[in-house]
Amino acid sequence: MLEYITVEPLAVASLIKEKYSAGFNYLLDITAIDYSEYVDVQKEEFALIYIIRHKNFKETIVVKTYLHTLEIQSISDVFKGANWLEREVYDQYGIIFKQHPNLRRVLNHKEFVGHPLRKSYPITKGQLLHSVDDLIDEMNNRLLNKNVVCKLDNGSFSECNKDLMFLNIGPSHPASHGTIRTYIALDGETIEAAVAEIGYLHRGFEKSCENHNYNQIIPYTDRLNYCSAISNNIAFAKTVEDMLGVTLPLRAQAIRVMLLELSRIEDHLVCLAAILVDMGAMTNYWYMYNPRESIYEVLSKLTGARLTNSYMRIGGMANDLYDGFEVDLSKAIEEVQHGVKETLSLIKHNRIFHDRTQNVGIISAEDAINASLTGPNLRACGVEFDMRKDNPYYGYENYDFDVVLGSVGDVYDRIMVRFGEIDESIKIIEQVMRKLPEGDINVKDASVVLPAKESVYSNIEGAMNHFKLTYEGVKVPADEYYASIEATNGELGFFIVSDGSGTPYKVKVKAPSFTAISAYPEMIEGSQLADSILTLGSLNIIAGEMDR
């Protein structure tokens, strides 16, 4: 259930606090809209959007405010997760959040001038960075807050009682899983303070969306979470289809469920393989990674690509399953089961594995909700939130599966939740394949789905239809809408503003990895250096999705 509320900017902070005490304690996203080129003249040039959810995980509120000046009260004192989200809005739109503890750029680099998601910023205007941010002032503030350093009268800092060593992990480090940089202050082996810097893979997804039509965006969505490309396709296509008000045929829904679960397996395999390598358990990497190759084979036969599949279309998908798909799929699933079994037999009762992962990198359920963690990372804390159960779509309510929960919220739980979810996903896939409905895979609507090739080549209506849809894109009614699915890393949502044309006016991704990394520095403070690597690995941060 989506409810829209519009308030004055001055009332936002108090409304959020009021809703917070009424049970809306889960922040999904904060973003802004630049209305300067919108079809209808709006009240103000800029509007801010806050999306919050009730603790029953069913009701969602979209709070909107039109800004008279480019300033607003920060809500990071209510939600920890708001800290980085507000930084992103500041970075991309130049909106100042008053009383924000650390309002600095998060995605773009420090020498960047201007705010790229403003409509006035030209999309291709790149700006060279000459030297990397040293993060020293951010670290000093962090240490000051923790009473590890003291501020001297002349404005500089001194270490009061500890002999600290500073260390950069990343952005080019084998265990940094892509391009995350963590700057830490060490006392011996213990991390006293940590700050994380992201944005090294910020490749302008949201700006690119504003310059492409809906179906052209599908390949871009592949590259958000590139470990499970199809689930991003589905999340985006579903949001647009909801805005169009079309319902997919049952066969298409079932295929989407099956591919979502296959992506989940694919993603968890690579996450688990990588974290076990980080622990020195190299053998497991082969057990887990080779089944992934078998999934690649099925997917490349089905979609033509191993990794970046671009299989979904607005209103359906590119093509139906091929003959013999079921046999290939069950072979791949068997290999996954074999790999998981072999790995578990090596680690399940392994003392080294237990010592390295149990009670390491803990985050409590309360903190995790406040920091907007989602997906397996949140479920590892024992919070029973799964979009497939709480807001079912594509007939998920008809499948029999369990939500896998942890209890402590440590690295061990996050790993074991993922192992459990692989089993549950296999259960769902088997149920889908057992009673896969016959019928169409695309909606029957000529204004949404491309006509059949025969009709394009043989009659003028088909040719015109094809031309109009390709050239202008699918026309989506003017609306502002948020929809999400349970992707592999958690709730993956899209907030789309349409002006009625074939190109979105604005697209915002609610990326699970973004909020996970914002919680990461506090999770590793106080733990050992080696534990920070495992904590990062267990959160399964995918840079493409985090930095967009």
Binding site: P122, G126, L129, H130, P171, S172, Y200, L201, Y285
Partner: protein, 172 residues
């Protein structure tokens, strides 16, 4: 040049030029440093895993320290924010060194023609070989490796290119 042949007994001595022997050693044991940032890095993982097995070509000793590597594989998008780091890593590698640009993003920015993405890493560091694809299949990367080995052996391209190169960040 084949150094070991079953038809030769163990007492046989082989006479060759020192230069050839060095080139043979270099081409057969390229040590890659992976600068993996995005999707292409996942395909590199496949190339290194047992199915495609990069060790068949002598390049399985993946180093994450540039000082121990002689082949830099840039697997993924390089943004303007990342560029100084890539340059620093390239500079830390000792000569002789080779650079492979893997995938559309590293080669040209790919379909990310926007404010944050470098339009090709050859604006900041020299590139010996470009691999097309988004992402390239593991076979394409292996093909690049084999072509590069030929280049190491024959030196058919301009051997001065790493020394003469001036990129956008060199004058800074």
């Amino acid at each position: 040049m084949e150094l070991v042949s079953p038809s030769l007994d163990t007492e046989t001595a082989i006479v060759t030029k020192l230069d050839d022997a060095v080139k043979w050693a270099r081409e057969s044991s390229l040590w890659p440093m992976i600068f993996g940032t995005a999707c292409c890095a996942i395909e590199f993982m496949s190339t290194a895993a047992s199915k495609y097995d990069i060790s068949r070509f002598g390049a399985e000793v993946v180093r994450f320290s540039p000082r121990q590597a002689d082949l830099l594989i840039i697997a993924g998008t390089i943004t303007y924010k990342q560029a100084p780091i890539l340059k620093q890593i390239y500079d830390q590698m000792s000569q002789p060194k080779w650079v492979v640009s893997m995938g559309a993003c590293a080669c040209s920015g790919g379909f990310y023609d926007n404010y944050s993405t470098m339009q090709g890493i050859d604006e900041i560091i020299p590139v010996d070989l470009y691999v097309a694809g988004c992402p390239p299949r593991p076979e394409a990367l292996l093909d690049a490796l084999v072509s590069l080995q030929e280049d190491v052996r024959t030196n058919k391209y301009n051997p001065q290119r790493h020394k003469d190169f001036k990129g956008l960040l060199d004058n800074a």
